[in-house]
């Protein structure tokens, strides 16, 4: 995490997860947070209180950062590191707990002169990436794990001396569950040696069979293996040119087969393309284009069109020497029943979404908007334009039909002040002065009273009237109840 977000360094960082009934709990925290007293397993609220207290006292240091823990992401990061570590030896795996890397260095040490050289290299490599690194070399996986987890200095256990090396170490070196460790500690047994001193046969009935397995794995009595990590195959298509391409048409022709191949790779999974990225290697450096589609697609022609439209909008990269297309996100295709007669409505929806994709590709995502109704009585806030491709809302709000019919077809974003006259102080308007002329009101409906938004700005208190002028224009006016000023807010025609 720190590796990916350098600006988090030196800050108190707390990861938390939802522990069901026990609420949000801290799962891990940085050294800075631990120094302030935060411990894993704490309720998040207490950690917050503690860190905020520390800050207000010292008035220094950056604000603490709070993140939801991401076990899947952790696993992925560790897998990347495992693959990275294949530069040292061909077989690199991850231990059962999903926390440590296991390297089988059989026959590899000579490449770094000797084991010490290799160990040094591994440690240096990871430390240079700002990882806190603990490492050890031993005869057995269990032995190396134990030494690495208890001694902070990189250590090499000479062949045949694993058992002796483990003897003084605390029980935590043996990959036992916490309950077993504390159970043994209750008997005053705190070291591996202390455990060995107990009659072996008496242990399984008290602490489970697994204890002996771990014990024997550490000493080598029991063989242990691990499954090396392998590269997952990313969905990428690459093309390289001998000579730089400068023609836009050519670029599209190069791109199309790459896209088709990617779509073909997706087909068996019943998946369609959602987000994708083109990376052009050009003479002047790399250029990246990203697309976000409104629905998963397998339509190569559609993608091709999007690509071409984008070329029209943006100065397409000149002197392209290579192209790499990567699938960033896929989505499951909706079940499509192949009927003899295509359902026109469905097709219409699909066409609309394809149109949206094309427009967004041509004009940019911010240019293709749709109106969204909001449940706010104040007219200015009852509707908002949102990018079409943005995530769909969970519950779409539908305004009450009676209300909807009484809202103008055109609403002014900012109400316009105007002069109006009425017979009684809080009655409907009879005459308006607007756009430099006088309008006589033929008839009016109202008032509809809207008092709202007091928490937002100054209290809104308005009486709305729909008026029909003698010329037949239908306007929407309101009078501010506090100042009695008139405003025009919309048009029904």
């Amino acid at each position: 995490m720190l590796h990916e977000h350098p600006r988090l360094r030196g800050r108190a960082l707390v990861l938390f997860a939802d522990a069901g009934q026990r609420g949000l709990r801290v799962t891990a925290c940085s050294a800075e947070a631990a120094q302030a007293g935060v411990r894993p397993g704490w309720p998040l609220a207490e950690a917050r209180a503690m860190l905020s207290g520390v800050r207000s006292r010292k008035q220094t240091g950056a604000a603490p950062t709070w993140r939801r823990s991401d076990p899947a992401g952790d696993r992925e990061s560790l897998q990347r590191l495992a693959l990275d570590a294949q530069q040292f030896c061909p077989f690199v795996g991850i231990d059962d707990a999903g926390e440590s890397l296991l390297l089988d260095i059989t026959g590899c040490a000579h490449l770094w002169q000797d084991e010490r050289g290799l160990l040094q290299e591994v440690v240096t490599r990871f430390r240079s990436q700002a990882y806190v690194t603990q490492a050890a070399i031993a005869d057995t996986i269990g032995g190396a794990w134990g030494v690495a987890h208890t001694l902070s200095k990189p250590t090499i256990v000479p062949p045949g001396e694993t058992a002796a090396a483990l003897r003084p170490l605390p029980l935590g070196a043996l990959r036992f569950p916490a309950a077993v460790i504390s159970g043994l500690q209750d008997f005053g047994v705190t070291t591996v040696g202390g455990l060995w001193d107990l009659p072996r046969d008496s242990l399984p009935s008290r602490f489970g069979r697994d204890l002996l397995r771990r014990l024997d794995q550490a000493t080598g009595k029991l063989r242990e293996t691990f499954t090396p990590e392998r590269f997952a195959e990313p969905l990428v298509e690459i093309w390289a040119a001998e000579e730089p391409l400068t023609d836009q048409m050519q670029l599209a022709t190069v791109c199309r087969p790459l896209l088709d191949r990617l779509l073909a790779a997706l087909t068996p999974q019943r998946a369609g393309l959602l987000d994708w990225r083109c990376r052009f290697e050009t003479v002047s450096g790399p250029v990246e284009w990203d697309w976000r589609l409104s629905q998963p697609t397998t339509d190569g022609r559609h993608l091709d069109q999007l690509f071409r439209l984008r070329c029209e909008r943006e100065p397409f990269p000149h002197g392209v020497t290579g192209l790499r297309i990567e699938v960033l996100r896929v989505g499951l295709l909706a079940e499509q029943q192949s009927t003899l007669f295509e359902d026109q409505r469905d097709a219409g929806g699909r066409d609309l979404l394809q149109l949206v994709d094309r427009l967004a590709s041509r004009l940019g995502e911010g240019a293709v908007l749709q109106p969204v109704f909001l449940p706010d009585p104040q007219p200015e806030y009852s509707c908002r334009m949102e990018p079409w491709t943005s995530a769909p809302r969970e519950h779409e709000f539908r305004p009450d039909p009676l209300l909807a019919r009484n809202r103008p077809s055109r609403l002014l974003r900012v109400p316009q002040s105007l002069e109006a006259m009425s017979v009684v102080p809080d009655g409907p308007p009879l005459r308006l002065f607007w756009q430099g002329r006088r309008w006589n009101v033929h008839q009016s409906w109202g008032p509809e009273r809207i008092d709202t938004g007091w928490w937002r700005t100054r209290d809104v208190r308005r009486d709305y009237y729909r008026v029909e002028t003698e010329e037949g224009r239908h306007l929407w006016l309101f009078r501010r109840r506090d100042t009695s000023q008139w405003f025009l807010h919309g048009f029904f025609d």
Partner: protein, 1052 residues
């Protein structure tokens, strides 16, 4: 719904103002739909605010129609009565198979049906909900008027429903139209008129009132947001678009319904049809209390005299005889015999089950109650003035609370339910209202403040006892109260203070009736299974003269009953509360030395520091002691004057004879609630009723205006009677202090008896006392560890839990002639259930156990339980150390013993446990250790840190800074202490009292609140024989204590 007609027929609408002028004035209007704030988190005005506003606007009547509830009607009734406003009692119900409907009670019968209907719906739904159908309403329709709420959005659906309602209620059915200045009001109204017309239902106007004035709409938005758990900004469609749902005058309503004035007129017709008033509710006592051939009075008289003979076998003293005659006359005159018989019946039941109980309260300390066995305070022993408790002129119900053993009160409650049935018995409600902290929290969240800000603000107002200090407290947390949001928060918090939030159950008030209770008041489910609760609280019941009996739970009664049992088994002596030898000087000596750990009431730090100063010498001193260390006397600054007068440093004087009569017993300082009220009467000319109102007004959060009114009246009255302004002001402040926390003498007397009884047991039977307290936990101020260590200081030998000897409870063991020892019971151990212990005890009857494995085989317990027992070191009598026993227990399996007879294992040499580790293990399993104090093992390290012992403190020079360390015995934050927290630490030499000011507490909040062991640094102060450390720094010692004797458990 058809489209609105656009453009409609060309007609200029009549402007508001014009309508107002043509409105025929003088024609009445009755508001038919009004929600109070007892429609929780929806209605935004108190019932009395609505009533007062309605009267001000000249409404002819106001209907209170809360959602599925009659919880607010009594308050409205009480407010409406002096104003002469007619009140309609009703409710709004939304059946699951139809739209919402208003039901109004026409007469007593209809009211009973409505109440029963709500009970039906509430009883079948989870707490807070009400599930009803059209069929249920049909079953309870008689005597009710119905008003179907027309909803513009659902008119089409409603058209189909309306005939059903008409068939159900006939000419008692109306349709209700509301207009709130929405879009197209006129058109909406015409649609509603058409719908009602086609269903042949008369249409009537209402305004769906949610608040009494438009300015409350902000609060209403906030309440809705709180209810939905969102912010005001997120409310969206759930907020009203405008503030038109306030009470309107007839003129305003006519303007709104200017096209249909008949709708407004019809409200009057409807109101006239409802003649019911809550005054008609008659409370009637259960009648099965006395045998058929007796009247209530004759039966009570008979029982009383029979009881008197039992109480005074040597003959009834003349004083008591004349008291009894006098009291019985008064009871007969005021018709309270049934009440006394009800109380007697409960006490009799409890006694038949060997449940110790004692009455207390205004009427409880009467001679009659003593003879009936309700109390044990001998009227010979204190000066009882019955009239003080039951006054003829006030016609107020006598007040008797009965305390029962805390573990067995449920038996009494279930007896009541069984005897009277769910229909005739119910528990009083407790209205949970907004206090500063909850108000700031909920309003802050609704306004969208961040959670940590809300948290900080809410904490800052923890001990604010009025809304005046709010702004200052906000500022202290760095929140600007003059900012826009700051002003909003302040305003809304002030408004919401005192608002009801939900109903809970009163601690023990039971209402019993002769006729079905559910026709008097709706009954709903409590959150606790098996309990049912009324919708009215004790003030509501008081207002309507409905009597309740408070059945409360008291841990000390459990302990005393157990002590009596143990003493009987030990010596054969049959003790009762009344039979304990009275006025024993040795007991008072002990009390004067504040040697009162475990004694009822006087074991708190405040009480203990008072004892050496007050030096109780007789029973009445205990009554005073119980009442004096209370927020009332402390806030009213009465403690020091009393102490000075008692020690003779200050002269006892009375400004008048009238005052002397009231204050003679307490040396001229009012200490009891009754005295303060009485003073208002004799010195300021209040009527007793006014004095009581004054006390109530003091307790309420809102209505500062009311308090001010009383203040003026009190001062004026006293000046007129010739008292000095200083005396008048002082009395006012004293009454103010009593407002919420006052303690009446009548309660103090009953408590004082328990104080004496428990002190007597502690003095003469310390081992019994310890065992009884341990067996009644949790109760009192101290944890078992402190009770045990106190008993050992008094020479009681305490023995650890043992598999061969212990029972569930702690028991007494008699070796030979010496005093008994206490054998701790298995209940001290955590994680061992009672049924486990019963199996052990049963198996043990056939002979002692020989090994751990044998325990398993003979008891059939699970192996895991054996391990837990072994960890608690209960196998010592088998010659096994804790570790050896655990080692053996761990190998045991639950499986059939035939095949699994454990092979003889080699004996394992386990590392021996250090004494330190033993002590820590004792604390972990039993919460106490008989071996040593954990701090003893840290002493050398602590000494290096410059930490002194608690014993050192008694000899060290005061006003200097020291450090002490210890286990936290108690943290106490009395509401009177202005945010000060009292912490008591215990080390191996004794205890140290800490005073932690709020600022220090905040600074070390985490440690102060969580740590089980502390290092505290501060200035040592001595005062009046008391000693404490004013803390300026706290450090956590918990980990150090837990790790004593073990190496760090962290390995990485």
């Amino acid at each position: 719904m058809p489209d609105p007609p656009f453009p409609p027929k060309s007609r200029r609408p009549t402007p508001d103002g014009a309508a107002r002028t043509v409105c025929p004035s003088g024609r009445g209007y009755a508001e038919l739909r009004c929600r109070t704030n007892y429609s929780f988190l929806d209605g935004a005005s108190h019932p009395d605010e609505l009533v007062e506003r309605a009267a001000e606007l000249g409404l002819t009547a106001l209907a209170i129609t809360d959602q599925n509830s009659l919880a607010g009607v009594v308050r409205a009734h009480v407010a409406a009565k002096p104003l002469g406003l007619k009140l309609l009692i009703g409710a709004e119900i939304t059946p699951s198979d139809a739209g919402p409907v208003l039901l109004w009670a026409m007469n007593r019968e209809g009211y009973g049906r409505l109440s029963r209907l709500l009970t039906v719906g509430r009883r079948r739904a989870p707490k807070g909900e009400c599930h009803l159908t059209l069929a249920d309403i049909a079953d309870h329709a008689a005597g009710l008027l119905a008003g179907v709420l027309l909803q513009p959005q659902q008119l089409d659906a409603q058209r189909a429903e309306l005939p059903q309602w008409r068939d159900l209620f006939g000419d008692r059915c109306y349709a209700v139209a509301e207009l709130h200045r929405g879009p197209q009001d006129e058109w909406t109204l015409s649609q509603m008129q058409a719908a009602a017309g086609s269903a042949r239902l008369p249409l009537v106007a209402a305004n769906g009132v949610h608040y009494h004035v438009p300015e409350r709409r902000y609060l209403q938005d906030v309440l809705r947001a709180i209810r939905r758990g969102c912010t005001v900004a997120e409310l969206g469609e759930h907020r009203f678009a405008n503030g038109e749902r306030s009470l309107l005058s007839a003129v305003e309503m006519r303007a709104r319904f200017h096209t249909a004035p008949d709708l407004v007129d019809r409200t009057q017709e409807l109101a006239d049809r409802c003649t019911f008033s809550l005054d008609e509710l008659q409370y009637d006592y259960p009648e099965e209390l006395c045998p058929a051939d007796e009247t209530l009075d004759s039966y009570l008289t008979k029982l009383t005299w029979a009881g008197a003979v039992g109480r005074y076998p040597q003959g009834i003293p003349d004083k008591v005889r004349s008291l009894l005659e006098h009291e019985l006359r008064l009871i007969a005159k005021l018709n309270y015999a049934a009440y006394f018989l009800t109380v007697w019946d409960l006490v009799r039941f409890a006694r038949s089950r060997d449940i110790l109980c004692q009455g207390r309260g205004s009427a409880a300390n009467s001679a009659v109650c003593f003879c009936l066995g309700v109390t044990s305070v001998d009227p010979d022993r204190i000066d009882v003035l019955f009239e003080r408790f039951i006054s003829e002129e006030r016609n107020e119900a006598p007040d008797i609370d009965i305390d029962f053993e805390h573990e067995r009160r449920e038996e009494v409650l279930q007896y009541i339910y069984e005897k009277y049935g769910r229909e005739r018995a119910g528990m009083t409600a407790e209205v949970i209202t907004y206090r500063p902290r909850s108000a700031v929290r909920d309003v802050g969240k609704a306004l969208g403040l961040s959670l940590d800000r809300v948290d900080a603000l809410a904490k800052s107002v923890d001990h604010v006892d009025g809304s005046e200090q709010l702004a200052a407290r906000f500022r202290e947390t760095g929140f600007d109260p003059t900012s826009r949001i700051g002003r909003q928060l302040l305003h809304l918090v002030r408004e919401i203070l005192g608002f009801p939030r939900h109903l809970s159950q009163h601690v023990g008030g039971m209402v019993l009736t002769h006729r079905p209770l559910c026709e008097l008041v709706p009954i709903e489910n409590a959150s606790m299974p098996g309990r049912t609760v009324l919708q009215w609280d004790k003030d509501d019941l008081d207002a309507l003269g409905i009597l309740k009996v408070d059945c409360l739970a008291l841990g000390m009664l459990s302990a005393i009953r157990r002590a009596f049992d143990l003493i009987r088994r030990q010596t054969g002596e049959e003790l009762t509360l009344a039979a304990i030898p009275a006025e024993d000087p040795a007991v008072y000596d002990m009390i004067q030395q504040a040697d009162t750990v475990g004694v009822f009431q006087i074991e708190s730090r405040g009480q203990m520091s008072m004892l050496p100063r007050l030096k109780p010498r007789e029973f009445y001193d205990l009554v005073i002691e119980v009442a004096i260390v209370r927020p009332g006397p402390i806030q009213g600054d009465m403690v020091h004057p009393y102490l000075r007068r008692r020690s003779g440093e200050e002269a006892v004087d009375f400004p008048s004879d009238a005052v002397r009569d009231v204050l003679k017993k307490t040396l001229g300082v009012p200490l009891f609630q009754e005295q303060a009220m009485k003073l208002a009467v004799v010195a300021a000319g209040f009527t007793p009723g006014e004095a009581d109102q004054l006390r109530r007004a003091m307790g309420a959060w809102r209505k500062t205006g009311v308090i001010e009114k009383f203040h003026q009246k009190l001062i004026a009255g006293m000046l007129a009677n010739g008292y000095t302004p200083e005396f008048a002001e002082r009395l006012y402040n004293q009454i103010r202090g009593f407002g919420e926390y006052g303690f009446p003498e009548s309660h103090a007397a009953s408590f004082a008896l328990l104080v004496y009884a428990s002190a007597w047991i502690k003095r003469y039977h310390p081992a019994v006392f310890l065992a009884a307290l341990l067996n009644s936990q949790p109760m009192g101020f101290y944890a078992p560890a402190q009770l045990v260590s106190d008993a050992r200081k008094h020479g009681v030998s305490v023995r650890p839990v043992d598999i061969q000897r212990s029972e569930w409870d702690s028991t007494l063991e008699h070796d030979n002639a010496g005093p008994p020892a206490v054998r701790l019971g298995f209940r001290q151990l955590s994680g061992i259930g009672q049924e486990v212990v019963e199996r052990i005890v049963a198996a043990r009857r056939s002979g002692p156990f020989g090994s751990v494995a044998e325990v398993l085989h003979r008891t059939g317990l699970r192996a895991g339980t054996l391990t837990r027992l072994a960890r608690a070191d209960v196998f010592a009598s088998l010659g096994l150390s804790r570790r050896e026993a655990v080692w053996q227990a761990m190998a045991l399996r639950d499986a059939a013993p035939l095949f699994d007879a454990v092979d003889e294992e080699p004996r394992v040499a386990l590392p021996t446990m250090s004494p330190q580790h033993q002590v820590v293990a004792d604390y972990q399993t039993a919460g106490l250790s008989l071996r040593a104090h954990p701090l003893q093992f840290l002493r050398s390290e602590l000494r290096e840190l410059g930490i002194v012992t608690a014993a050192d403190l008694t000899m060290l020079e005061s006003d200097r800074r020291y450090k002490v360390a210890g286990l936290v015995l108690l943290r106490q934050r009395p509401s009177t202490a202005k945010g000060i927290t009292f912490v008591t630490l215990e080390d191996e030499t004794g205890t140290a009292n800490l005073i932690v000011h709020q600022a220090t507490w905040q600074r070390f909040h985490q440690i102060a609140r969580r740590a089980g062991a502390l290092i505290a640094r501060g200035i040592l102060q001595r005062q009046d024989g008391n000693m404490h450390v004013i803390v300026d720094r706290l450090d956590d010692l918990t980990t150090a204590v837990a790790e004593i004797g073990t190496r760090s458990r962290d390995f990485h």
